[in-house]
Amino acid sequence: MVGRGRTSDLHIRTVRYPSAMQRFDGKIAWVTGSTRGIGRAIALRLARDGADLALHGRSADGPSRRLAEELADEIRGLGRRAVCVAADIARKDEVAAAVEQIEAGLGGLDFLILNAARAPFKDTTRLLERDLRLLVDTNLLGHLFCVQKALPLLERGGGRIVFISSLGSRYMNAQYPLGPIKAAMEAMVRQWSEELRPQGIEANAVCAGLVKTDSYKTLRRLWPELAALPEEAYVTPEEVADVTAFLCSDEARAIGGQTLIVDRGLSNRILRSP
């Protein structure tokens, strides 16, 4: 027991890196949905901190592929390795193939960042069966498939899983059926944290506030009042990426199964929990 006024080595362990080293040197990260927006910012943040990157988009061709290749070049320019994998995460066989490519191309996996998302924007009562299947298959099962297939690699060296959530997980937004699925995923993260800790793997989530990424283009049409919000209400993709990188770092070793809200206090000020 640590007495009052005393400190324990366990609690004040200071993480120091040799000046020439980055904190993620030798680490390998897979960021799903990393061709643009928050995923892209996370990939760049991790690469700048020394990690090698597996970049991911759903399509093997078209603009998504081009964006992935451009980002891979940028990351290689930072002196890191980068591979691009294409997979519809809703399909377990495609996820398995992607993980095989990552192992073949980079030799392992330390950080799995579950950022990919795909969803219709309409009220839940109007969702067609294929809308519902897309919603659940991609945003719930897809992440599970990624974890299941990446597990053998993550187990090798104390892996970290970070799920990227949104405020829809805790506040109702009209025509945003992804919100309830994000809530389920935050619960899944708590499950993973306990289930995987014995294997040396930790899982957490980052709940991003309003971010001006692609989904914002839809949201501003649904909620015109967004335009009236001051610029400081918005979080940048880089701010979300910084917290994601923190959760991958050794500094976050005491955090497990949690969701950190990164919204510049927006939900604290305006949206209040019951």
């Binding site: 078209g62 603009p63 998504s64 924007f121 309409k122 109007r126 067609l128 069966e129 294929r130 692609d214 283009k217 839809t218 501003r220 049409r221 649904l222």
Partner: protein, 189 residues
Amino acid sequence: MANSLVTRERIDQEVRAALATTLRIDANGIGMEQSIINDLGATSIDFLDINFRLEQVFGIRLASQLLLDHVEEELGEGTAIDRDNKITAGAAALLREQFPEAESIKAGIYADEVPAVVTPGSIATAVEKIIAHLPDACPACSAASWKSDDSTKVACGGCGKDAEYPDGDELTKRWIHDMQREKQLFANA
């Protein structure tokens, strides 16, 4: 003509401008019959941006949902897209009504291939159809005169209130029901 204050030429000009800004390409190089996806390199997300810009310019709401989604919401699931994600004969016939130039539209093609038929011209037509619904008189003050300073947004000549049009989703639904009544494109609907 869309209405007496906004010409098709003006709409085409604004569609080109919206595409040029979103896709960062030269507006003068955009052909109105080019595929926005295949020829101009847009992604599905770019359409949100393009539509948003046009909505701001003309004071309208373009359809936020795809035509075939509307069909299935209005006439039943499976009427437009089958379990293999391929479009039905009825959906192909309806799409050909909306995109007469799109020869690639046939029953049995994958639904994912449909957005490639959208051209600058078809977006301009969608804008034109909405602003053709300018009311005869202002609902707020009953004045029967409209004005436009820039040939895009229209306001009441009496009270100055911006004109309100039916939104694109609503017009699409009406059109689907009209087509179904007239041509019975969807047999089991």
